[in-house]
């Protein structure tokens, strides 16, 4: 019995990290309707940024968020303006090619400048854990989980109560009508992309204390974030959070009780099933959102 609870806890903690990485993608995906295959590379860049701040200036990885978040926000804005804006009206394949290209470019630039070494940060809490009723909870993973929860609440409040947030939601629901109502859609695209990247920045910061960073670390996260976003439903932040937890728990149970080698196969299987049965995702906003940007 203990083992089941332990695996559940590990799964939930893992899911928190997955959710955190996926929120940014969902925002970009929902608002700008672009499949950003370079999303994992945004996480990778933020991890590197955190690493360098720690390595060169001795900054605590969590403290590095003060620098990483604004930098990633600006990076996102610039990315939207320079790369995405010009191709917004082109076909879906074009967008895929472009973002995949950017992802490869970033991976290889990083490889050239920072080499393929596996970089980690050493902190007092890197491998620490606390125990509740003999259930082990890893501290850095717990921090990431709580931060994911908090940031989703903040994002939810932002979308619900501010004007810019409402405009973003309007764009998610119906881009054309939002434009007719006087929303400056292009400017809100910039905001959405910036916020999306800032969230991947936060993901990168929180991953750094327990994960190594290397040029291709983002590849796994890109695919995973897609599964989470599609499962949770486009435009639904709480959906992303729950879907993240769900995938984490499925992965932990599948890995422990079936086989660690099959855990990815299991959640990709679920992904395909969801696409077949409920393409708008479990908490999706209904008709129209199942297109996942493929216009």
């Amino acid at each position: 019995m203990d083992l089941y609870i332990q695996v559940l806890v590990s799964g939930l903690l893992l899911g928190g990290v997955y959710a955190l990485i996926s929120i940014g993608l969902n925002l970009i995906f929902g608002v700008v309707r672009i499949i950003n295959f370079a999303h994992g590379e945004m996480v990778m860049l933020s991890m590197y940024l955190t690493f360098w701040l720690h390595h060169l200036y001795g900054m605590d990885p969590y403290l590095a968020a003060i620098v990483v978040l604004p930098v990633m926000f600006l990076f996102g804005v610039a990315f939207q303006r320079v790369v995405v804006q010009p191709i917004l009206t082109t076909s879906a394949t074009m967008k895929i090619f472009t973002t995949v290209g950017v992802s490869l470019l970033l991976q290889n630039l990083v490889l050239i400048f920072w080499k393929g070494d596996f970089r980690t940060v050493q902190t007092s809490y890197s491998m620490s854990a606390f125990e509740v009723f003999e259930i082990i909870v890893s501290i850095p993973r717990f921090v990431a989980f709580v931060a994911a929860l908090l940031s989703i609440i903040i994002l939810y409040a932002f979308l619900k109560f501010t004007f810019a947030g409402k405009a973003l939601r309007a764009i998610v629901e119906d881009n054309a009508v939002a434009r007719l109502m006087g929303v400056n859609v292009e400017r809100h695209y910039l905001l959405a992309f910036g916020l999306g990247c800032a969230f991947s920045g936060l993901g990168g910061v929180l991953l750094m204390p327990f994960n190594a960073v290397y040029p291709t670390v983002g590849v796994t996260y890109t695919l995973l974030a897609f599964v989470v976003v599609v499962l949770g439903g486009l435009g639904s932040m709480s959906g992303t959070f729950l879907a993240g937890l769900f995938i984490g728990v499925v992965e932990a149970f599948g890995g422990t009780f079936v086989s660690p080698a099959l855990k990815e196969a299991i959640y990709f299987g679920i992904f395909i099933l969801v696409l077949l049965v409920r393409p708008q995702g479990l908490f999706g906003m209904g008709r129209g959102t199942e297109e996942v940007g493929l216009k």
Binding site: Q107, G116, F118, T120, Q122, I136, A212, Y214, T256, P260
Partner: protein, 441 residues
Amino acid sequence: MISFAKVDLALWGQDLNRDLGRVGCLGLRKLTNQEKGAFMRKTVWIVMLCVSLVLGFSAGAFAAKTLEIGALYPISGSLALLGEESWRGAEIARMQRNKAGGVAGMEVIFVQGDANTPATSRSEAERLIEQKGVKGILGTYSSSRCMVASEVAGRKGIPYFELGAIANDITTRGYKTMWRINPTAAHFSVAQVEFIIDWLAPKLGKKPSDIKVSVAHEDSDYGSSVAASFSELAKKKGLQVVSVEPYAANSSDLSSVIFRLRKAEPDIVVAVSYAQDAILLSRQAIELKLNVPFIGTGGGHSLQSFADALGKNAEGVLNVDFTQYEVNTAFTPGLTNFLGLYKETFKANPRSGHSLANYMGANVVFDILQKTGGSLDPKAVQKAAMAMDVKVGSTATGWGVKFDENGQNIRVTPQVTQWRDGKLVTVFPKGAAVMEPILIK
């Protein structure tokens, strides 16, 4: 090339004169931005032209006396770190050999290929052979990449020299042009099983038949092949293999592997990991309180970044691997020299023993080609390779050279090393060891 260049140069020369003339006529007037731009562009062109001419000449001058060999390693992508580290070793051997007069009087040139993924490894092998016209290839570090690339070479009858990949079946597919200088997964297993029986069992006060072993391995060619050969041998020698846990090397969480290991309650875990998963596995083992000694199988456990990531927790982690640098140098003549060359060339310490193994291997390849007079003809290579007879303890890795009928070097033994104070120290077998192993759970 050269005649073209002459004509072009003349044309540019005229343009340049005209520009200068114009400027001269206009006297003291400052150049407009447009004119400056045009001027700059032409200057750049001329500089580029000169550079290409020089390069053209230099290539021409040595053309008759070069020996081109394909060097196929993963130098980008997820295996870039050790792929590049491996290439560095071969590159040092090449530079050293060229300085000493080359192979059979010819300058050795590496035509570089990038075995980024198994798929690109195939296309790169084809490109090297078809387009670059190389008659032999060395590489590859990664077993899965070697499998596909050497198949391309094997079908075309082009000699393929493996210096780093350890999967058993690389040399058992019946290709007559396949040669491997480094130890195989089977050799690694022998070393691990010997170590467990000769050292760990007495240390724990148990009979070998009471020792329980778990295997955790990444699930590509490398991990699967090593894990399979270890399990088979361990069972044959009477050890209990209580669980085998495959996992994907790019996992971001390995807690499920740790839980399964905790459930199996082994005395020792044999891990077969690449870099990031080795780090993750050990970090999560500490977090989730799995108090069992680990013995790695080359790959990630031998990396400096592994020790850096774990800090003091790396102390006592065991690893079976190619020869490392903290070794009895009486056993490895040439190692100190190699280290010096490495630091001089790359301005850093080696990141793992992969460069050393590739240095030793490339030297063996050059020795074979020296005997064939620089020919890469498969028959000539076959004859020269089978005649190779180098004693154990006379190369930089301490390995000897003697090929079996499959093209596998049989005078190779991996060694057991242990992380001690941030250094990977050789602890077993006794001849190569510089320290006694310690047991830390």
